[in-house]
């Protein structure tokens, strides 16, 4: 309960939680579109490419104001995206190669400028290296206000152009035939993604920010088949991961970026495993159940076939050793005991097995069903 009361009354913790929630909402909502448009790696390249922007913005202006650094980050992040598209269009270099190239070039340049700044005697230099892995604890109220206002612009863009962005994401060619300026919409949506990235940079860091873009969307997709629900849920999961990760990292004094990413990844794993329709656990259970039912059916059919060879007494016991050889001992034995529990098969004193009259009727019904699949 201490943490909860701190959350309300402790200035630092409250600031951290609010800021992380803001960044999670924005990156979750816009990241959902990035996931659907297969731009996850573009997000990664853009966030790495934001580093030289941060460093250069500081170098040129001498200011560490969040808005100044964010604008610098957005400019180089955006420039990297433009460069990637340009290289792919102008040459035969493929998209993944172009992205890897730009990511490392921009990130490398950022590190160079950063070390250059580090060697300067200027007093304000400290803290820029925090942009690598992020730091939540140092968040100020002014940071939160900037993050929230910049992020709001991004969210507003998605709300206003909802149907345009939806169609652009699903079928850009069709959108173009309707007269939508798809090229410009594409640039706009990518720019909004840049906004989502720079909002979280100081907290999560350039190295791992792409996880905040991808993870909430990937997790949300598992739970719903509606775009609106997916984007909303993605924003909420992003906020939850942001707040939880930032609070843990502040309490444990770990780097914020990695901590938030671990929380977000946990959401993804849980969603992949347990989401109702798409969860792997349920799929495995369904597969296992249907396999077991098929085994039951097969054993019943075998027993019915044996019974048919002795038309005088259908419930005469049979030795099941042949069945063991055919289908495997464990499968046959577990199927038999289940059939017996359901009153469909019986074990005789001799140790042999047969179907009960009810089992025979059921086997007959199933055999008919399999022979004539409903033709619809």
């Amino acid at each position: 309960m201490d943490v909860l009361s701190d959350l309300v009354f402790d200035y630092t913790l409250r600031t951290v939680a609010l800021g992380s929630a803001a960044l999670g909402i924005v990156s979750g909502a816009l990241g959902a579109f990035a996931v659907l448009r297969r731009q996850a790696l573009l997000g990664d390249a853009m966030s790495h490419a934001a580093l030289p922007g941060v460093a250069l913005a500081f170098l040129i202006t001498g200011s560490r104001a969040p808005l100044v650094l964010m604008i610098g980050a957005a400019l180089t992040g955006w420039l990297a995206a433009v460069a990637i598209v340009g290289v792919v269009r102008a040459s035969r270099v493929k998209t993944d190669t172009a992205m890897a190239l730009m990511l490392s070039v921009f990130f490398g340049a950022g590190l160079v400028v950063l070390t250059f700044i580090q060697r300067q005697p200027a007093a304000g230099k400290a803290g820029l290296d925090k942009f690598l892995f992020g730091q939540a604890a140092a968040m100020l109220e002014s940071d939160v206000i900037t993050m929230a206002s910049v992020g709001a612009v991004g969210l507003l863009g998605v709300l206003v152009l909802w149907k345009e962005f939806k169609l652009l994401s699903f079928d850009p060619d069709f959108a173009a035939t309707l007269g939508m300026p798809t090229r410009r919409l594409d640039v706009l949506l990518t720019s909004l993604l840049v906004i989502a990235i720079v909002v979280g940079l100081k907290t999560v860091g350039v190295v791992l920010m792409s996880a905040m873009v991808v993870a909430p969307g990937a997790a949300a997709r598992q739970w719903t088949n509606r775009l609106g629900v997916m984007v909303t849920l993605s924003a909420l999961l992003g906020a939850a991961a942001g707040v939880l990760g930032a609070l843990v990292s502040t309490a444990a004094e770990t780097s914020t970026g990695p901590t938030i990413v671990l929380v977000a990844t946990a959401f993804v794993v849980a969603s992949l495993l347990f989401a109702p329709a798409r969860g792997l656990v349920w799929a495995r259970l369904r597969g296992w159940r249907s396999q077991r039912l098929l085994a039951l059916e097969a054993v019943m059919a075998d027993l019915a076939a044996l019974a048919a060879q002795h038309s005088t007494d259908a419930t005469r016991p049979h030795d099941v050793a042949a069945l063991h050889a055919l289908r495997g001992r464990a499968i046959v034995e577990s199927a038999l005991s289940e059939l017996a529990a359901d009153g469909l098969a019986q074990r005789h004193v001799s140790g042999g097995w047969s179907l009960t009259p009810r089992g025979l009727a059921e086997a007959d019904r199933l055999a008919r069903l399999r022979r004539a699949p409903d033709d619809v």
């Binding site: 149907k163 939806k166 079928d171 959108a175 173009a176 035939t177 309707l178 007269g179 088949n225 997916m230």
Partner: protein
């Protein structure tokens, strides 16, 4: 802007030329489609059939040539043209329903920002019914069969309430039910005076389904009514002799495609 439909030709594309990295894909192609016909575009793989459709729609910029729709540039007449892309051109795992996809056909008439409302959704529902898919309105699109997905795309084009329908392989990989439904739909469209141009692969059915045909292999080989143009000789010219006496008119209809 007043949209004109009075000129004689629904589509008149002249001298379309388009190349990918020096390799010509379309060379000096004319496409003339009279109003109220069902036209097939037929040709081997890589003949530029899809490219031709996309060039007409302005999705690809030709190196030369121009496209007129009812006598005026396509850009001014775009609302008269509906497009049914290849089913495989989109990701069907997109999180939405069949009805929502069909509703996308109304976006062009809505303009910026405005969201589709009750009337758009009821038009979309009616279009779904027209292709026999009314029971699948709320179905997630990845759960539809290939034929059902194709019908959803057709319904989306119907909602556009256009004069001209450009379809890229509407019969590709669909079941018999859907093939029947599409053929019926094409005939209904023709009866309403609409014009349909479809990229088509199955030479066996060209004569049954279409009344005009454009034979394409980078260049336009021939075009006109199926009776006049869909001959064995023309098909040999189009397919480079790899077709052994198939469904063409003239030397009798045969049955085997050896290409």
């Amino acid at each position: 802007m007043r949209l004109r439909t009075s000129a004689t030709l629904a589509i008149e594309a002249t001298d379309l030329t388009l190349a990918y990295q020096q390799r010509p894909v379309l060379w000096d192609v004319d496409l003339e489609v009279p109003q109220g016909v069902l036209m097939a575009i037929v040709g081997p793989n890589g003949a530029g059939k899809t490219t031709l459709l996309r060039a007409v729609l302005g999705l690809l910029k030709p190196a030369a040539g121009e496209v007129r729709v009812f006598g005026r540039p396509y850009a001014e007449q775009r609302r008269l043209v509906a497009y049914v892309p290849q089913r495989g051109s989109v990701d069907w795992d997109f999180p939405t329903t069949a009805l929502d996809i069909v509703t996308m056909g109304t976006y062009g008439g809505l303009g910026w920002v405005r969201r589709p409302g009750v009337s758009e959704r009821s038009r979309a529902t009616a279009a779904l019914a027209q292709v026999g898919m009314q029971d699948y309105a709320d179905r997630q699109i990845s759960q539809l069969s290939g034929g059902q997905q194709q019908r959803v795309f057709l319904a989306r084009a119907l909602v556009q309430d256009a004069q001209i329908y450009l379809m890229d392989e509407p019969f590709q990989g669909v079941d018999a039910t859907t093939e029947r439904a599409i053929v019926d739909l094409l005939r209904t469209l023709r009866a309403d005076g609409k014009t349909v141009v479809a990229v088509h692969h199955d030479l066996q059915t060209v004569v049954d389904y279409f009344d005009q045909v454009t034979l394409l292999n980078v260049r336009r080989i021939d075009a006109g009514s199926v009776e006049d143009v869909f001959t064995d000789e023309n098909l040999r010219l189009t397919y480079g002799g790899r077709v052994a006496g198939i469904g063409g008119r003239g030397n009798g209809r045969a049955s085997d495609l050896s290409a």
